[in-house]
């Protein structure tokens, strides 16, 4: 029997009242002919008939490896394990988190557990945001800011309640936290299902196919909150050994403050691009397609986090380049 393809998992986050449950109901009631398993938390209110709904307690536990940011969702490991044994293929799994949830343990679960890793893939972290109330939420809640920092897609909801100027300002605030995020505007969470499901937006390789310019672009967003985003470029090829030594040291030391790290690297002597990403301390990397003919082979790295020291990070990344004049 052939190995089955990994099941895509969509993580739905968003502050209380942003429109998460409306979106979920919309996805599930749309006549899409797909079968989803939906993992909801016990406070959820959901009326669904056709799909498989699983109640979960958000149980976060610390890995026993001495690292306090290595937290994972134990309930998801168990639930995904159970779902995999069911007869009949699922088209996807949707995980709804509570409004106050930190998305990191959910994302980290997909790095840590070998069974989850083997049988599923994180499709996207979708954060639903209330366009009217976001500025207030960002002012009073650490979680609201983190949910945007972690997002691959932000659904800017309740657009009927804001003026074009307010909408532009909210988008600016979102970009200041997470410049690469895909923003979709909506009213009453009315987006087509394929705008949020099956996007493969967590996967750097796929994003690059769709948007070759991902990770490039300006870095001059002001940051008004605690969380900021910094990106750096390197013109000379990267020495993999130097990079590994630097990034593992950095993540070990600073991982708690680094929410997400994404990089596209030109390794010395390698025609394929290397895509690197991390959630806090947990990192993953793989070669993806070749550089496009004629495009400059420049390495890029983006950090989203707190208390980031720009000169130090810049020097660190630049020092991973091969010596000037060495063979590329």
């Amino acid at each position: 029997m052939p190995e089955s393809t990994p099941i895509p998992v969509t993580v739905l986050t968003g502050y209380l009242g942003a429109g998460k449950t409306t979106l979920l109901n919309r996805i599930l009631s749309e006549n899409h002919g797909k079968k989803f398993a939906v993992v909801i938390n016990e406070f959820g209110e959901l009326g669904v008939d056709n799909d498989l709904v699983v109640d979960a307690d958000e149980e976060v536990f610390e890995m026993n490896n001495g690292c306090i940011c290595c937290t994972v969702r134990g309930d998801l490991i168990r639930i995904i394990g159970g779902l995999m044994k069911r007869k009949g293929d699922l088209d996807g799994i949707i995980i709804e988190t509570t409004g106050l949830a930190d998305p990191a343990p959910v994302a980290q679960t997909f790095f840590v557990d070998e069974d989850v890793k083997a049988r599923t893939r994180l499709d996207a972290i979708v954060t639903v945001v209330d366009a009217k109330n976001l500025p207030a939420r960002l002012a009073d809640s650490r979680e609201a800011e983190e949910q945007i920092a972690f997002a691959d897609i932000v659904l800017l909801n309740k657009m009927d309640l804001v003026s074009p100027e307010e909408a532009a300002e909210v988008e600016r605030r979102i970009r200041a936290i997470n410049p690469q995020v895909e923003i979709r505007r909506s009213t009453k969470s009315d987006v087509p299902i394929d705008a949020v499901i099956g996007r493969d937006a967590f996967n750097l390789a796929r994003i690059l196919e769709r948007e070759p310019e991902f990770l490039s672009g300006d870095d001059d967003h002001e940051h008004d909150g605690e969380i900021q985003s910094l990106s750096f470029e390197a013109a000379r090829p990267i020495d993999p050994e130097k990079f590994n030594a630097w990034i593992s040291g950095l993540l070990a030391q600073k991982g708690q403050d680094l929410l997400r790290t994404k990089g596209i690297l030109h390794y010395s002597g390698e025609d394929r691009r290397f895509a690197f990403q991390a959630v806090h301390m947990m990192a993953d990397g793989d070669f993806v397609g070749s550089w496009r003919e004629g495009d400059p082979r420049r390495s890029k790295i983006v950090f989203i986090g707190r208390d980031l020291n720009r000169p130090q990070l810049r020097r660190g990344f630049e020092s991973c380049q091969v010596e000037d004049g060495a063979a590329a």
Partner: protein, 347 residues
């Protein structure tokens, strides 16, 4: 696989096998003299193989309609106990009849079941462990700080152990005051086993390691170095050895002569790079049955290291493995739904 090669495996000469079409979640032999074997499946059915039945005659019981069986064991007094993602705890008879024992909580999974010949049954639903008597009457509900990852009775049925986050809880079933002995160790603990003499508790952790406690003095035992997650734990009949999955060999820890502390485990049947996924020790002899990620099933004698092939690779990772009480028959099932029963009795 050619016939000549098939003949090298006992399944070909002494077994029956069948493709059941869904993940084999658990397999068990019923207690008492009946001799039936039950397979709990990911399609919500329990298939029952009766002695001398051909594989085509295995009966099917719709235990968890439309859902999946999540855990299966031999029931206290014959038949099988099955927990499902439909929230039901059911008993399946050797004739494939289904009786609902309980539905502990709506829209919650019954993730782990265990039973003891004294008549006790246990079902884990989230953080709660529900206990029932032989007639299905609810005895008590034991609360844990987090979801239960595994359940086991001790050999006498006096205590029940449940693993969870940051350790395990050991409860006296008959105690009036329900206060567990909490065995603490940071991390997530899934599978759990109690040694046959009741002196040790061992859990399988998230971190590719086992953790054990010697109950006499609370001494911790860390058994690490596995390249994969350990899921399956099995003590030999007298508790001298603990066989485990999670490496590309069968890893066996000595629990005699001072215990496993500071000792290296014995590794059997290793070397081909495929992880062991299930183990089951023989009910009398120091022989372990082991299943691997490619579908290979074999027997290994602990003292000599001698290996006897039982079932060839090629039918999906082995997910369930069980001996009957006499130790004459071995049953196994795989993730892709292949199942077999092998007669190992003297001829």
């Amino acid at each position: 696989m050619s016939e000549a090669q098939d003949a090298d495996f006992l399944l070909g000469s002494r077994g029956v096998s069948r493709d059941l079409g869904a993940w084999v979640v658990g397999v068990a032999w019923e207690r008492g003299g009946g001799g039936a074997c039950g397979f709990g499946l990911g399609d919500g059915t329990v298939r029952v193989a009766r002695p001398a039945a051909t594989a085509e005659d295995w009966a099917s019981a719709a235990a968890h309609g439309g859902g999946a069986c999540l855990s299966l064991c031999a029931d206290a007094r014959g038949g099988f106990l099955s927990g499902g993602d439909d929230g039901r705890l059911v008993r399946v008879t050797a004739e494939a009849g289904v009786d609902e024992i309980a539905r502990p909580a709506r829209s919650r999974w019954v993730e782990h079941v265990a039973a003891h010949e004294s008549g006790l049954r246990a079902a884990a639903v989230g953080k709660a462990l529900h206990l029932y008597d032989a007639n299905g009457a609810a005895l008590k509900v034991l609360a844990h700080p987090s979801s239960v990852g595994g359940v086991a009775f001790d050999a006498k049925g006096k205590r029940v152990a449940a693993s969870h986050y940051n350790g395990a809880s050991l409860w006296f079933v008959g105690s009036k005051e329900d206060k567990p002995r909490v065995l603490e160790w940071k991390g997530s603990h899934a599978g759990i086993a109690v040694s046959p003499d009741g002196t040790h508790v061992v859990t399988a952790m998230q971190e590719n390691a086992l953790h054990g406690w010697r109950l006499a003095d609370g001494q911790h035992m860390r058994m690490s170095g596995y390249p994969g997650k350990t899921r399956s734990l099995s003590f030999t009949a007298r508790g001298r050895w603990l066989a485990t999955s999670g490496a590309d060999s069968v890893v066996i820890w000595p629990f005699h002569g001072g215990g496993p502390m500071g000792k290296a485990p014995t590794e059997l049947a290793g070397g081909d790079g495929v992880f062991c996924t299930a183990v089951a020790c023989h009910p009398q002899h120091e022989v372990v049955a082991a299943g691997f990620g490619d579908g290979l099933v074999l027997l290994a004698e602990i003292a000599s290291g001698k290996v006897i092939p039982v079932a060839p690779p090629g039918h999906g990772g082995v997910s369930a493995l069980a001996w009957n009480a006499a130790g004459s028959h071995l049953a196994f099932g795989t993730e892709t739904g292949f199942a077999g029963v092998v007669d190992l009795s003297r001829r």
